[in-house]
């Protein structure tokens, strides 16, 4: 139930994004800046990710993240949760590691849940989230299919059901054709 409520609410926020947009840009608060040394031989995206994961482990910040190396001297890591992001910038040449944190408003936290796939990120809980997203997908498909079975089994409501199914299929096809 919470997953379906979340998908419903987040879809509403996404489609009416301007209603929830804040004019104020959220600031990044400094967490720490320290000397840090780790050799980086980042040639491919996988190497960059592996190095980033080791840096996060050294900082006790393991979890879901994205990483990129915009210049040979800089490694950027975005360690994110539903409620905020921690941005780490590793200057390879200067051997300095800087971390900043930005919080996320509740409306955007729900949107983050919507976009979170789970698979492809480290830790058991991320993978488990991915599995539950799969289950929510199966739930929606079963919900749709079971409606058709119920419609057939309830002769009293068959005319209304036919109207709903016919109207739904027709309007969907019409939109697909015209859009």
């Amino acid at each position: 139930m919470p997953w379906l409520l979340m998908y419903g609410l987040s879809s509403f926020i996404i489609i009416h994004e301007s209603w929830f947009k804040s004019d104020k840009e959220r600031s990044w608060e400094p967490l720490f800046e320290k000397h840090y040394s780790r050799p980086v031989k980042a040639a491919t995206a996988t190497d960059v990710r592996t190095t980033a994961q080791q840096i996060l482990k050294d900082c006790n910040l393991e979890g879901a993240f994205w990483a990129d190396q915009p210049t040979p001297d800089t490694l950027n890591i975005n360690r994110f949760t539903f409620w905020g992001s921690t941005r780490l910038t590793y200057s390879i040449k200067d051997q300095r590691l800087k971390a900043e944190r930005q919080s996320t408003p509740a409306s955007q936290a729900v949107v983050r849940m919507h976009f979170r796939g789970g698979y492809g990120q480290p830790t058991f809980w991320n993978q488990f989230w991915g599995l539950l997203v799969d289950l929510a997908c199966v739930g929606i498909v079963v919900w749709t299919a079971s409606g058709l079975i119920m419609w057939w089994r309830l002769p009293r409501l068959r005319a209304w059901g036919a109207l709903a199914v016919g109207g739904g299929v027709l309007s969907f096809l019409l939109l697909i054709w015209r859009l």
């Binding site: 919470p2 419903g8 879809s11 539903f82 796939g117 859009l179």
Partner: protein, 168 residues
């Protein structure tokens, strides 16, 4: 979308192939003050293709590229103002791209009534989904024979969700 890479492995290329539809002369000239968006809209109207679209290029001597969005397969219109040429290409249909496109299509953002209609249908789907969730609670209360299983289901669902909110 959570298994995108796996599904993509069944296709020969990452993106659908673009197939040439037609190429023609286009002689209309535009004032220097015309924006890319104004030029794109005029071109689409001239081609009888007016509708939801996105614009790119058209600066620093680069051709103007209009992506005319369709549900089944997008069209790409490339206007080369120097040569006075228009090239129209159509994206090959791909089920994955179609489903992802419809998932991401929001409506309301474009100036066309059809897009607003799609946006409205998404709103209806949102209301239905939320009603489905909340009506489950109501049914749980009304159906005494399954109340125990319902309790387990609600508690486990809410508990797990709360754990995720804290942990990831």
């Amino acid at each position: 979308m959570t298994h995108r890479q796996y599904v993509l492995s069944f296709y020969p290329s990452k993106d659908p192939v673009l197939v040439k539809e037609r190429e023609s002369e286009y002689t209309r000239s535009f004032p220097a003050t015309a924006t890319r968006e104004q030029i794109a809209k005029q071109i689409l109207e001239d081609l009888g293709l007016d509708g939801s679209h996105q614009v790119s290029g058209g600066r620093n001597g680069k051709p103007l590229v209009i992506t005319r969005q369709h549900a089944l397969h997008n069209q790409r219109v490339t206007f080369n103002s120097g040569a006075g040429q228009i090239l129209i290409e159509r994206e090959e249909f791909r089920a994955l791209t179609f489903l992802e496109r419809m998932h991401r299509r929001r409506g309301y953002k474009q100036q066309y009534l059809l897009d607003d209609t799609w946006g409205l249908s998404v709103d209806v789907a949102v209301v239905t989904m939320m009603f489905w969730s909340l009506s489950g609670l109501w049914l749980w209360w009304e159906l005494k024979s399954t109340r125990r299983w319902g309790t387990v289901s609600v508690v486990v669902g809410l508990g797990l969700f709360a754990v995720f909110l804290v942990l990831i």
